[in-house]
């Protein structure tokens, strides 16, 4: 290992940012893949790995991917929720790899909602 310069500290921190964001539960964008039995059998795993690969190849640091259980809309699985910090979560349904790539390039990278695959904006109320 070479001797560090002061500016190297920021470089190391930047490189580890993705890891730290995941650890701190922070990050600008959170993608939740619904992986109940219904989601898994409809191919949610493939959806999730596609996201992970896209994040990797685009070298994004502040996107976290996580999973949750069934969202209650089993007939439209696989589905995901995309949440940008400060904005209402958006649910996308009936996904496949092609749709995921579009959601990734439009919504995740550019912050533009993909209207045609979106099912709902916002989330249920919990009483």
């Amino acid at each position: 290992m070479a001797k560090l310069k002061i500016e190297d500290l920021d470089k190391i921190a930047e490189e580890a940012k993705r890891k730290m964001n995941l650890r701190e539960g922070s990050g600008k964008i959170k993608i939740t893949v619904h992986m109940g039995t219904c989601g898994i059998s409809a191919g949610a795993r493939n959806i999730m790995t596609t996201f992970l690969n896209e994040i990797d190849s685009n070298k994004l640091q502040d996107v976290i991917v996580t999973t949750t259980g069934c969202a209650g809309l089993c007939s439209h699985e696989p589905m995901i929720t995309v949440e940008l910090v400060g904005q209402a979560p958006v649910k996308y349904i009936d996904l496949n790899e092609k749709k995921v790539k579009k959601i990734f390039s439009d919504h995740v990278l550019k912050g533009k909602l993909v209207q045609e695959y979106a099912y709902a904006i916002g989330s249920e109320r919990i009483l």
């Binding site: 560090l4 619904h34 109940g36 790995t49 949750t68």
Partner: protein, 610 residues
């Protein structure tokens, strides 16, 4: 760097490791590979999470879900449900005592939610064996700031106005110590980190080292730069802390490789190195002069401090010794400023450096409390909040009796003073002390005389013997306490005890003797009635002192409720129980060895202590 969706933070502090945390980690690895999740999940070994009573434990990120008391057999189900199907497993979560619903998120568990982290800010968040993790959390930025934009005097002024005081127990203002050392005459000076944590039941320093060793190292480098003419630092750590030593070694090696230690740090012309010195574990070596004698290779005995160690310390050179936790606070003060630090805590330090207690303090909460573990709280918090809010109260609905702060030579504080704010001066006023941060909770089943005897026997044993008041005084005090607990106490013993205590406090050479009588003095002050019952009535109200108690079977309960189950008779190792099945039983007190087995095995509560 790969994109993961799950990070599993496995606590590998000493507490969890001794509860087989490494087996849990191996089982996780195996199960994750079996489910083909290894490309999506990362397992991170962290330092002590703090909630030692719940170990072995893991925290699953990004959701921050806390799983406790794990067994290897829980892992396949956990991996399948949570990591594969995204359904967190409720039965492995923490449920507060007296409640039914588990709390999934670590940040919402009261034990964690009511803490304020400065010294422990990286706990559970970084891999202590990876310097990049520390840097990613802002590590070594304080050093960069100190070396590039602050003069040594400015650093000292910052530490002074922050109000930081020694966390090892003395509470000496850190900035003042640094300044005195800086002005002391000498071309070669030293800084030392005191990691000789010897208090029974205390594990604050060990956990900081095991969880975040670089914070201590960074603090030392900043201190060395500020004091000037310091090119060598020592970490004095006891042999009984193998994991702490190992993590320090790794951290020092990585800091050296990055050039954060060694020659010309950050190209600013400042040279500094740190070496580890292992202590053999003598309690007295936590005392500054004894510690330095030990580093020099001499017998670890204290000397009279007419000349302070900041003037003439290690090898007769000016030496600045601070405790692990004190050093760990330094980088945060430099980064976030004295104003921020002094906004937390009590009093006002702007005029008088001794005028308040600022920042936070780490305590190891142990004894009769639901949530055993390591807590960091703001100065000024009440003892009641620590014990009941963070600690979750007393187990099994028992009644609180007293809390001992400050380790084996701290005093016992009774219920009536529980609203006392935690502050150096306030704790001293009631006869206890901040100490290094041990906090032992006792309940109605603890005998105060017995506890005073226990702690005095520790300090007596650890007395180095150099000065007579400590060596002989504590011995005679212990004799008296032993007599009292054997039922041979006399009324005048209490007066002798007090007189001896005051003599030892006033005339001992170092703080070991100077504080050893605290448990005796405070129990005499707040629980004198217990001593009097021991002496006058030859009884132990808590039922602890064996020679003063008898086990008695209530024959009615035995026959009517238990139908003479005969279990106690079979279990008694002394054959002291008479009776047979379906008949009532009784104990022959002459034969009874008072082991208490019958009391424990009786399911019908027919046996009581008299």
């Amino acid at each position: 760097m790969k994109a993961y969706r799950i990070q599993i933070m496995v606590c590998t502090g000493t507490g969890c490791v001794s509860n087989h945390a490494f087996d849990i980690r191996d089982a996780l690895e195996k199960e994750i590979a079996k489910r083909n999740l290894q490309n999506e999940t990362e397992i991170v070994n962290t330092g002590c999470n703090g909630f030692c009573g719940a170990g072995p434990l893991i925290v699953v990120q990004p959701e921050g879900i806390f799983y406790q008391l794990l067994k290897v057999t829980d892992i396949p189900h956990l991996v399948e449900e949570h990591f594969l199907k995204g359904r967190p497993v409720k039965k492995l979560m923490y449920t507060p005592p007296k409640e039914k619903t588990p709390i999934p998120k670590m940040s919402e568990i009261p034990f964690f939610a009511d803490q304020t982290l400065i010294a422990l800010r990286n706990r559970g968040m970084i891999d202590p064996e990876n310097i990049d993790d520390y840097i990613a959390r802002g590590g070594y930025k304080a050093l960069a700031k100190a070396l590039t934009s602050m003069t040594p005097n400015e650093i000292i002024n910052e530490i002074k106005s922050s109000g930081l005081r020694g966390r090892g127990g003395g509470g000496f203002p850190t900035g003042v110590k640094w300044e005195t050392c800086k002005h002391a005459h000498g071309d070669t000076k030293y800084v030392i980190c005191n990691a000789d944590e010897g208090d029974p039941g205390a594990f604050m320093d060990r956990s900081i080292i095991e969880g975040d060793p670089h914070s201590v190292i960074e603090g030392m480098i900043i201190g060395a730069y500020a004091i000037e003419n310091v090119h060598q630092g020592y970490i004095y750590v006891r042999m009984q802390y193998p994991l702490a030593i190992q993590r320090f070694e790794i951290a020092l090696r990585q800091a050296n490789e990055y050039g954060l230690l060694g020659k010309n740090i950050f190209d600013k012309g400042f040279d500094f190195d740190i070496e580890i010195r292992r202590g053999a574990g003598a309690f007295v070596c936590g005392e500054s002069t004894a510690l330095m004698a030990s580093i020099e290779g001499k017998v670890g005995e204290p000397r009279a401090k007419y000349v302070h160690t900041v003037e003439k310390g290690l090898w007769n050179q000016p030496t600045c010794l601070n405790n692990v936790e004190t050093w760990a606070n330094v980088p945060q003060i430099i980064i976030r400023g004295a104003k921020w630090f002094s906004s937390i805590g009590t009093g006002d330090v702007s005029v008088d450096a001794w005028g308040g207690s600022k920042g936070t303090k780490v305590f190891s909460l142990a004894g009769k409390v639901n949530n055993t573990g390591l807590v960091e709280v703001p100065m000024g918090i009440s003892l009641r909040d620590i014990i009941y809010k963070i600690g979750g109260g007393i187990p099994r609905n028992k009644k609180f009796k007293a809390v001992q702060t400050g380790g084996p030579s701290g005093g016992f504080i009774p219920e009536s003073l529980l609203d006392l704010p935690v502050d150096y001066e306030e704790l001293s006023k009631v006869g206890s002390m901040m100490g290094s941060g041990g906090m032992l909770v006792t309940d109605e089943e603890n005998c105060m005389v017995d506890l005073a005897k226990y702690f005095l026997s520790f300090t007596q044993d650890e007395s180095c013997g150099k000065c007579i008041p400590c060596r002989e005084g504590t011995k005679r005090m212990l004799d008296i306490l032993e007599r009292i607990t054997m039922g041979e106490g006399k009324e005048e013993d209490l007066l002798y005890l007090e007189e001896l205590s005051n003599m030892v406090v006033e005339s001992s050479l170092c703080a070991l003797g100077g504080s050893a009588p605290n448990p005796v003095l405070t129990t005499l002050k707040y629980f004198r009635d217990e001593y009097e019952i021991h002496v006058k009535e030859k009884k132990c109200p808590a039922g602890v002192c064996k020679p003063l108690i008898n086990y008695v079977i209530d024959e009615n309960v035995c026959i009517q409720v238990g139908h003479g189950c005969d279990i106690c008779r079979k279990q008694c190792p002394d054959n002291a129980i008479m009776g047979e099945i379906k008949k009532s039983h009784y104990i022959d007190t002459k034969k009874c060895g008072k082991c208490g087995i019958c009391y424990d095995v009786c399911k019908f509560n027919a046996i009581h202590i008299e």
